[in-house]
């Protein structure tokens, strides 16, 4: 099959990659998992975040700091997008599903092309002290930026999990996902809560974008590669489960990493892994690992 040390390396990188995928999918876990919005434009917004990080880094700002700074404008953007989506589609009922998907698809296209027009099709990257150097663990070299992203991903996961379980708004968001009528009866406005949640999801996407460009160069149509990955993670996790997102991210990361490193398979088979996983989950256990 595969030599053991190669497998070990695959798993190790898979864990790091998996945490990255988990962090990147957190936003979608909220917007699609909890709020049921068919947000196929989530990866595109993430790529937008990556490019905004690029612009800020040209001004001398560290990429991670840039990501944090971007959370505020992206939060507002998210609220705006959700409000628009809600007024136009969700309110009107039946046809909404079909047109909602088409709307987000169109939005993703616009973002993609917008980026091409402004930045061109070439890849863009950022520079920082931790990009370009590696750390040695015995025989294995791990790029420092991967560890940085890993740390950010872990921090983000902890923050979000705490937010949704400890804070009032966080729990309200979880409540709205489970039982909207009950929430309305308690006097809370479900639309405003969902708007807030979508804002958070988009803000998280901004940080995810920063991580994306730290890990490697970005190009405008990278969102296509991530639609499969993010949806695979969210569906495998079970809609709306934050801890599930981590587990699912790890599973995806490790599978992809092993395929990538496998002598017979390699990079030409890697893109199919996330989608194959997604189809598998949808076919066998559609509610995912931790689904409600």
């Amino acid at each position: 099959m595969m030599p053991l040390d190669l497998l070990f390396e695959g798993v190790l990188f898979g864990i790091l990659l998996g945490c990255f995928y988990a962090a990147v999918s957190m936003g979608l876990s909220v917007s699609f998992g909890l709020l049921d919005v068919p947000h196929v434009a989530h990866p595109a917004i993430m790529v937008l975040g990556a490019y905004c990080t690029f612009v800020l880094s040209r001004l001398g700002i560290d990429p991670i700091l840039a990501g944090v700074l971007l959370t505020a404008p992206f939060f507002l953007l998210g609220m705006l997008v959700y409000r628009f989506y809600y007024e136009t589609f969700e309110k009107r009922g039946t046809d909404a599903g079909v047109r909602g998907i088409a709307f987000f698809f169109g939005l993703a296209l616009i973002i993609e092309v917008g980026l091409i027009l402004v930045f061109g099709v070439d890849q863009r990257l950022v520079e920082a002290s931790y990009i370009g150097s590696s750390v040695r663990f015995g025989d294995i070299r791990i790029p420092q930026r991967t560890l940085v992203v890993f740390a950010v991903a872990v921090a983000l996961t902890i923050l979000l999990t705490l937010y949704f379980s400890r804070t009032f708004t966080g729990r309200a968001i979880k409540a709205v996902a489970q039982d909207e009528p009950a929430l309305r009866l308690m006097g809370a406005n479900p639309v405003r809560i969902k708007q807030w949640a979508f804002g958070i999801a988009t803000a998280v996407a901004a940080i995810a974008g920063a991580m994306l460009i730290i890990i490697g160069p970005v190009e405008p149509n990278m969102d296509r590669a991530y639609i499969g990955r993010t949806f695979a993670v969210v569906v495998l996790a079970g809609l709306g489960s934050m801890t599930g997102t981590v587990a699912a991210g790890l599973i995806l990361g490790i599978s992809e990493s092993i395929v990538l490193i496998h002598p017979d398979l390699g990079a030409s088979w890697a893109p199919a892994v996330s989608f194959a996983l997604l189809l598998l989950v949808l076919g066998i256990r559609p509610q995912g690992l931790f689904g409600r």
Binding site: G97, F103, G106, G228, V235, S268
Partner: protein
């Protein structure tokens, strides 16, 4: 019967044009437009009639293209048989994929179709006989008589396929199958409880849709003299196939036809005069605007415009006053923006210009839409 009369007349006109018009570029562009008529019509059977939006067009189209290419490489099969085989292969893919994925809710099905495209692409990237990642070069055979140009022959074949696809869609739409699909779209639960075998009907629609897309894909390798996975399974085919019916109207077979004719022609024009990226932007913006402001598409707008309206004197007077004002304002705004952007571009600030345009354009288009709506609806 009127339908067949017009169809044959159109086909005859197209064939005649093939002999009269000398400029080959017209046929290259025309082929693409007709291709999207077929893809849009096929997409609409599942996406429009049944309401199952999907991005799977490249998978069926690509499988059809590769079926044609591989059969040509292996057996030098004539184009007609390639098309038939491609229809069968893609129909089979539609059947199997449909059985596996059509139990899923709308958005999951849509994502599953993207999965299908990527998986198909991966399969062909790794199949060396079909050319692998680098692709396959193909030598065109001489065109069959009476055509002297291969591309003109392909053009006429695609026109015939377009008519065939529309005939199939029309038949389904007007039959009990079409009514069942519409019931599924309106309320799948109620349809099931009204005796509609929803899964079977959906799988049927998926199979027919896939077969038509596969048939449309078969001539592609001959058109390009070349085939390779990345461009064949490109999601851009999904964009055109989805946007055309959404813009033209999803309830009637005329919608995808109008949508594809308008959109694809516009895309060709923009592609040549401005840039390739700009044409994708145009599609994206139009898609969003129509989905938001005109859900029933161009057909719906036309139907609305032709319906009897309660016109009163005040309503007419108001419009006689407002229309010139709005047009004047629009022209003024356009002039100001033109000067401003010209100035900025001359200074090299393309980023600002594009960003502002991107932010303003959808909003302006939306307002224009609403205004036109208001004009025609007293």
């Amino acid at each position: 019967m009127r339908f067949w009369f017009f169809s044959i007349a159109i086909l005859a006109a197209v064939a005649a044009a093939a002999f009269i018009v000398k400029n080959e570029f017209v046929f290259y562009a025309g082929y693409t437009v007709l291709l999207y008529v077929v893809l849009a019509t096929a997409w609409n059977i599942l996406g429009g009639y049944a309401g199952y939006v999907n991005f799977g067009t490249p998978a069926f189209f690509g499988l059809g293209a590769y079926t044609g290419a591989v059969l040509y490489k292996a057996f030098a099969l004539p184009l007609g048989l390639q098309i038939a085989a491609a229809a069968v292969m893609s129909g089979l893919l539609g059947l199997i994929a449909g059985l596996l994925t059509l139990r899923l809710r709308g958005i999951f099905f849509a994502i599953a179709t993207i999965a299908l495209v990527v998986i198909m692409e991966t399969v062909f990237i790794n199949w060396r006989y079909a050319g692998g990642a680098t692709g396959l070069q193909l030598l065109r055979p001489p065109p069959t008589a009476p055509f002297e140009s291969y591309i003109k022959m392909l053009f006429v074949i695609m026109a015939a396929m377009a008519i065939g696809a529309v005939a199939v869609a029309r038949y389904i739409q007007d039959s009990w199958i079409g009514r069942g699909l519409r019931a599924i779209r309106d309320s799948e639960e109620a349809a099931e409880c009204s005796g509609v075998a929803t899964l079977k009907l959906k799988v049927f629609a998926c199979t027919v849709s896939g077969a038509l897309m596969g048939a449309a894909g078969a001539p592609m390798p001959m058109y390009l003299s070349f085939i390779e996975p990345a461009s064949t399974f490109n999601l851009n085919y999904a964009v055109g196939a989805l946007a055309s019916p959404m813009i033209g109207g999803t309830a009637h077979w005329g919608g995808p036809v109008i949508g594809a004719l308008l959109l694809s022609s516009l895309q060709q024009y923009v592609s040549v005069t401005i840039s390739n990226e700009m044409n994708v932007l145009v599609v994206g913006v139009l898609l969003v605007v129509f989905v938001v402001a005109a859900p029933e598409g161009v057909l719906g707008l036309l139907r609305n415009a032709m319906a009897p309206k309660p016109w009163t004197r005040e309503a007419v007077q108001r419009r006689v006053v407002m229309i010139p004002i709005v047009i004047a304002a629009g022209v003024a705004l356009g002039a100001v923006l033109y000067v401003l952007f010209d100035f900025l571009i001359a200074k090299g600030e393309r980023v600002i210009v594009y960003s502002v345009l991107a932010l303003m354009l959808p909003g302006l288009l939306y307002l224009a839409f609403r205004f036109i709506r208001w004009v025609f609806n007293p």
